[in-house]
């Protein structure tokens, strides 16, 4: 096993990119990453996308993206694991480089969600189609059921959920790539249109277009391309029951817990060693569950921890400095890679106003569906 580093990043702005097609945005992000890394050739590529078929009626996008990036001829593979497609694509890229099979691997994620498809319907295909979706549940609905159970069990409050969105919007306000570069308030979240009780529109990540790419290479070659390579310390994934109702405890995201535990083991560090983390806040409650199940705070204490400001930029463990999925936007297939880019920028010291002081070790956690798949990466700047 060789050590693997990230040597280049590129992403589009996230948002409603009316003038750009799925090809345009992927190529834009890909070219930026290639340029950032300064590589001339790409040996292999992975593309994460949840459901380009339902969103733009285009499958086979690994070949299309290689073609339009002008690198057709290389092997290219699409990876799908719902909203964790990007994160799991990175894991495949990592495996290919660490194994010695190839040296320069481009890993990207993309989703074009605003081309007119019924997004609620398309996203719901990440749940159990026959036994959840058939009966009328939606993704906000699934997380709302988690939120209701979490509030009932641990006393998590409506205000604590809102504070996740307030914090993430504050971070996103200084991220030039974010879909919503504006702050919000507790009242702004609580009084927004109800989507699935108790979650309002402002508890939910938006429907977005966007793409993000990174370039991987063996760590021992990384210095050829960059002064600040970021080493991948761990790349671990896990799964859980697809249907929320089949889990013994709906408030525990077991796949997050398992992927986190193996990642900390692989990296040889503990949650307390993480300086900055991007977690999958597709809904406010998801961030609370994620920080608990990753071990940053005890189970049931995530709301209180957030309320105390421990997840803010100057808190104990800054979470979602990019603005998270909530404010930065959530083009589902691209999210896992965009999280990695935020951590790389933090570790390189390039995060501007969002910079976490002395950030050396960072973590990303990306999940699919209501948590049936999760992937955790840990990084250290070299």
């Amino acid at each position: 096993m060789r050590d693997v580093a990230i040597i280049g990043c590129g992403m589009t702005k996230f948002g409603e990119l009316w003038k750009k097609s799925i090809r345009d945005i992927f190529v834009e992000a890909g070219l930026k990453a290639i340029d950032d890394a300064g590589v001339e050739n790409i040996d292999s590529m992975y593309v994460g996308s949840m459901t380009s078929g339902l969103f733009v009626e285009q499958e086979h996008i690994s070949a299309i993206m290689a073609d339009y990036l002008g690198i057709a001829g290389i092997p290219a593979v699409r990876i799908e694991s719902a909203c964790a497609s990007g994160g799991l694509a990175l894991r495949q890229g990592f495996i290919e480089v660490t194994s010695g099979m190839n040296d320069i691997v481009l890993v990207g994620g993309v989703e074009k969600m605003t081309d007119g498809a019924d997004a609620t319907y398309a996203l719901a295909s990440a749940a159990d189609q026959e036994y959840e979706v058939y009966n009328g549940i939606t993704f906000p609905g699934l997380y709302a059921m988690i939120a209701r159970a979490h509030m009932h069990r641990y006393g998590t409050t409506r205000k604590q959920l809102a504070l996740v969105a307030v914090k993430n919007h504050k971070n996103g306000a200084s991220n030039p790539n974010a879909q919503f570069q504006r702050e919000t308030t507790i009242d702004g979240v609580i009084n927004a249109t109800m989507v699935a009780d108790p979650l309002t529109l402002m508890d939910c990540s938006p429907v977005s277009d966007g793409a993000a790419c990174v370039i991987l290479c063996p760590l021992d070659q990384a210095k050829k391309y960059t002064d600040t390579p970021v080493k991948i310390l761990a790349s671990c994934a896990a799964t859980d029951n697809i249907a929320l109702h089949q889990r013994d405890d709906v408030t525990i995201l077991k796949a997050v817990k398992l992927s986190g535990e193996s990642a900390f083991k692989q990296a040889g560090i503990s949650p307390g060693d993480i300086d900055v983390a991007e977690v999958h806040d597709c809904f406010t409650i998801a961030e609370i569950c994620a920080i608990e199940d990753l071990g940053f705070v005890a189970k049931g204490k995530g709301g209180e921890f957030t309320e105390k400001g421990e997840t803010a930029l100057d808190g104990k463990i800054p979470i979602n400095t990019s603005g998270g999925l909530k404010s930065k936007g959530h083009p589902v297939g691209a999210t896992g890679i965009a999280q990695v880019i935020e951590i790389v920028e933090q570790l390189r010291g390039n995060a501007g106003k969002r910079q976490v002081k002395n950030a050396k070790v960072g973590l990303t956690q990306n999940m699919g569906g209501s948590g049936a798949s999760s992937v955790v990466h840990i990084f250290r700047v070299v």
Binding site: Y131, Y134, G136, A149, H152
Partner: protein, 129 residues
């Protein structure tokens, strides 16, 4: 809802048919081919109780097109007397009447239809008792 996919699930959706692992007794709804507790592959067919309680719930206010005319509607995770959980709508209720722990009964209802000329799709919904 394409007809074969709908048709295949009829025993579960109409009659709450589940399977019970002959080795460890765990019940699966819908039935599975392998027990995820003990890896057993021998099962007996059972029908779930139509009585249960609400574990958690939400009120769907933004729905996919298929359910758009029904909003707001309640969806809950219900645990039947056999301690099996399923996701189901709670019909004929005001959202404010639904609470975690409340008792429900599963009834037979139309769940969705395949447009104005396609097949009608039935299944279970809960009602408060």
């Amino acid at each position: 809802m394409p007809s074969p996919r709908y048709w295949r699930e009829i025993p579960q959706r109409y009659r709450l048919e589940a399977n019970k692992c002959k080795k460890c007794g765990k019940i699966f709804f819908p039935p599975r081919l392998i027990c995820c507790e003990c890896r057993g592959q021998a099962f007996e067919k059972i029908r779930l109780s139509d009585e249960g309680k609400i574990i958690t719930f939400t009120v769907i206010r933004v729905a996919p097109q298929q359910f758009a005319t029904q909003t707001p509607y309640v969806v809950a995770i219900v645990e039947t007397k056999d301690e099996v959980r399923l996701t189901t709508q709670v019909a004929d209720c005001k959202p404010e009447d639904v609470e975690i722990g409340k008792k429900v009964r599963l009834v037979f209802r139309k769940i969705q239809e395949e447009g104005k000329t396609g097949i009608l799709c039935y299944g279970y919904k809960a009602v408060l008792v």
